[in-house]
Structure formats: C-alpha cells, structure tokens
C-alpha cells in the first residue's frame, strides 16, 4: 500500500477526472491517491467517477485555493 499524489492544478473538468482514472490504472488495491486540483467542479466529478468505478473517497480538504481529494483505490 503506498501513497501517491496527482497534480491536476489548473486543469478544468473533466481533465482531473481523466488524469485520476489513468493514474489509478497504475496503482494497486488499497493505495491512496491525493488529487490536487483547482477546478471546484472536480469536487463533484471525482467522487462521482469513484462511486461509479468502485473506488472510495477518503475525504477532501481545501488548502489556500487548492482542493485536495483523497481516493482509496479498490480493485
């Protein structure tokens, strides 16, 4: 189990979702991924994508103007 980070700053939806999806393809079951984004739309899109594909959203937090969404990979 490892911890990863994805820089999706300044990308507009659905790019953060696409990047998350592609990154998760490389990860293992139980891995944690922090997606750092600036488009508030990601806050609805990434969880929706995770629900559909069976991954788990651990939580999200806002740091300055950035949004960090944490996903746990479920394979």
């Amino acid at each position: 189990m490892s911890h990863h980070e994805l820089d999706a700053r300044r990308m507009l939806c659905p790019m953060p979702v696409i990047k998350t999806q592609n990154k998760i393809k490389e990860l293992q079951d139980g891995d944690i991924l922090d997606v750092i984004c600036t488009d508030p739309g990601a806050l609805s899109d990434i969880p929706a994508w995770a629900r559909i594909n069976g991954h788990e959203i651990v939580g999200h937090r806002e740091v300055d103007d950035e949004l960090i969404i944490t996903v746990r990979v479920v394979i």
Binding site: R10, L12, C13, P14, M15, V17, I18, Q21, D39, P40, G41, L43, S44, D45, A48, W49, R51, I52, N53
Partner: protein, 350 residues
C-alpha cells in the same frame, strides 16, 4: 451455460444514450460506457470559470448518466487525435464548425479500437443513442450505414432507439437481443424519448439544445475561425480551446486580439496565463484583467490600454493608469484616456 453478452455504449451525457443503455439492460445485456473528451465537449470546464455559472449544477452529465444506469464509465482523452477530425472532415461541417458525421465515425472507430486494446474478448457489440432524423447532419437514414462502415464497426453497431428502421445487425441476427423490443424512433420530435424516460423513471436528465459540443455554437465557431485567421494557420492547443470560452474577444488589429475578463472569476482564470501572455489591467480604478493573444508592437500599448480601460470603472475618467505585465520582463504602467463606447468599433468584436 450461456454467458451474458456485453456491449460498450457511447455516452454523451444526454437522454438518448441514457435510454439506449437502459433498453439493453432490460434485455440482460451487460453494458459499460465510454465517453470521449475532444476538448470541445459541453460537459465540464466553463462552469469553473465564470462567477454567474457557479450556482448552476456542476455535475458532469456523462458521469451522472453512468451512475443512474449503474454502469462503469471510461472517459478517454482524444484531444490530439480529434484535431484531424475538426481540421479535415471528409464529410464537411454542419451549420457551424461542427464536423458531426466525421466526429461520429471517429468516436465509433475509437470505441472499436478501445475495446480491442483493453479487452481480449469481452465486448460483443457497440451501442449508441442515435436516432434517425434527430440531427440534420449526422443522424439521417443515409448516414447510419456510413458511420457503421467507415468506423469499421459494421454489423456490431446497434442503435437500440431506432434499430427497427435499420437493417438487422449481428446482435439481433444472433439473437443476443430481441429486435422486437427495440425501438423505431425517428425525427426531431423528442416526445417518444421523454415518454420512455418517464416509463423508466429517469428525471433531471440533461437536454442540451444544440449538440454535444461547443462547435455547434455559432459564436464559439466564429471565434475559432477568427483565431485561425489571426494566426494564419489552422492550429490549436488545449489552452486556445479554453480561452475561446473566456471573456470578450476583441480584435482591433489583424495581428492580435484582446481577451477581456467579464467578471472576477474570469479575471482569476486569465491570471493563470500571465507567464505565457502579456496581461494588463487598470490600477487606478477597478477593472477587468485582459490578455493579448498574438503579436503586438509596443507602439500599440497605449491603444489597447484605452480599450481595456473602457471596460473598467474608470471608463468615464480623464485618465486611467494601466499596468502591463510581460512574461519575464518588468511591469510597465501607462496613463491613458479610456476609449469611448463608439471608439471601440463593432467590427472588432469577435
């Protein structure tokens, strides 16, 4: 034991693809969705930019549709490959810069390729929510076989909503699906689809007016054509696509245009481009951020400062200070008199 047959569905986020999948699920077909992101899709981005759009729902309809249906959705970035479709469409454009027929062929073809790349033997056929006569350019009776043939999908492309008006496809001939339970929708009338949605209990589905992407929008298409004309070449990058959706675009001279933010959200968005473009804004008064796309001579700085000042609170002032920020150079401030409304010529507006 007979295995469940599987189909991959092109999901745009609209009602038709939602229904097409549901019709298949009713027949016991297992479906996964695929959504292609060309960069021009109505889904996504702009809502993140403008203030007034903030209250609108921020959902991505393709994801929403997949969730309603309980299917997986794969979103595929086809921005680069799509350029060829948009720049050289074999079948031409629709009312605006939308190459719908080539686009459909491209997407079905990509779906065929995607299935081959990702699954050795998983999917049996492809479905779309196409309806004959729904769209004047791409969804006509004559275009349906063109899409099937040129995409290479041939008889494994099934359109559950209008299948009864079309020749039988492999899934029907093989008995994987019951043709009798498919539909024969045609024409622009959306009532049959709405009735079916009601029957299945779908509410709040998206009903995009023009099409699934910005290329069907006249204003957007005009800006794209202007961009190509200004640069003397028909090329674009992702940033260009985004910037065409932001701000007022004013081209006072052929070599450059100004993009002037319309609200604080857009100003903030344009700030992200400060390292790539010359930006300017009034400092003596409140006003929007603007950026210059193209080649500008420093002799024209006063002129463009006058235009930008016209869109800020200093529009009636005798003098406004405008600060220019150049990538990798010192900032520069000019004092100018804003142009009057009449001086900002109508034909400059893209």
């Amino acid at each position: 034991m007979t295995r469940k047959h599987k189909a991959v569905a092109l999901i745009s986020g609209g009602l038709d693809s939602l229904l097409a999948v549901r019709v298949m699920q009713e027949q016991g077909i297992e479906v996964e969705g695929i959504n292609f992101y060309t960069g021009f899709c109505v889904e996504g981005h702009t809502h993140a930019i403008r203030n007034h759009d903030k209250d609108k729902q921020k959902r991505n309809n393709a994801l929403w549709v997949a969730e309603q249906l309980g299917i997986k959705l794969h979103i595929v970035d086809v921005i680069e490959e799509y350029k060829e479709v948009l720049l050289n469409p074999k079948h031409g454009y629709g009312a605006n810069m939308n190459p719908c027929l080539d686009c459909k062929i491209f997407m079905v073809k990509k779906a065929v390729e995607w299935v081959k790349e990702n699954y050795d033997d998983g999917f049996d056929f492809i479905i779309t929510g196409e309806v004959i006569g729904q769209r004047p350019m791409s969804q006509r009776k004559e275009t349906m076989p063109i899409i099937s043939n040129e995409s290479g999908a041939d008889d494994i492309l099934l359109r559950p909503l209008c299948a009864k008006n079309l020749p039988e496809t492999k899934p029907e001939l093989e008995g994987w699906v019951d043709r009798e339970k498919l539909f024969g929708f045609s024409g622009r009338n959306r009532k049959p689809q709405m009735a079916l949605a009601e029957q299945y209990g779908f509410k709040d589905y998206a009903t995009p007016a023009g099409g699934c992407c910005f290329l069907t929008d006249k204003k957007y298409s005009d800006k794209l054509v202007d961009l190509w004309k200004g640069r003397g070449t028909r090329e674009y990058e992702m940033d260009d696509i985004m910037l065409l959706k932001v701000g007022r675009h004013i081209r006072p001279k052929p070599e450059f245009k100004l993009i002037i933010a319309r609200d604080a959200g857009e100003s903030k968005y344009l700030e992200g481009y400060r390292k790539q473009f010359i930006t300017l804004h009034a400092v003596s008064h409140n006003g929007p951020l603007a950026m210059i796309d193209g080649d500008i001579d420093s002799d024209d700085f006063e002129f463009v400062a006058g235009i930008v000042a016209r869109y800020g609170q200093g529009r009636d002032a005798e003098e406004v200070s405008v600060e220019f920020a150049m990538p990798d150079q010192d900032k520069k401030t000019l004092k100018i008199k804003p142009l009057s409304t009449d001086e900002v010529l109508k034909e400059w507006h893209v």
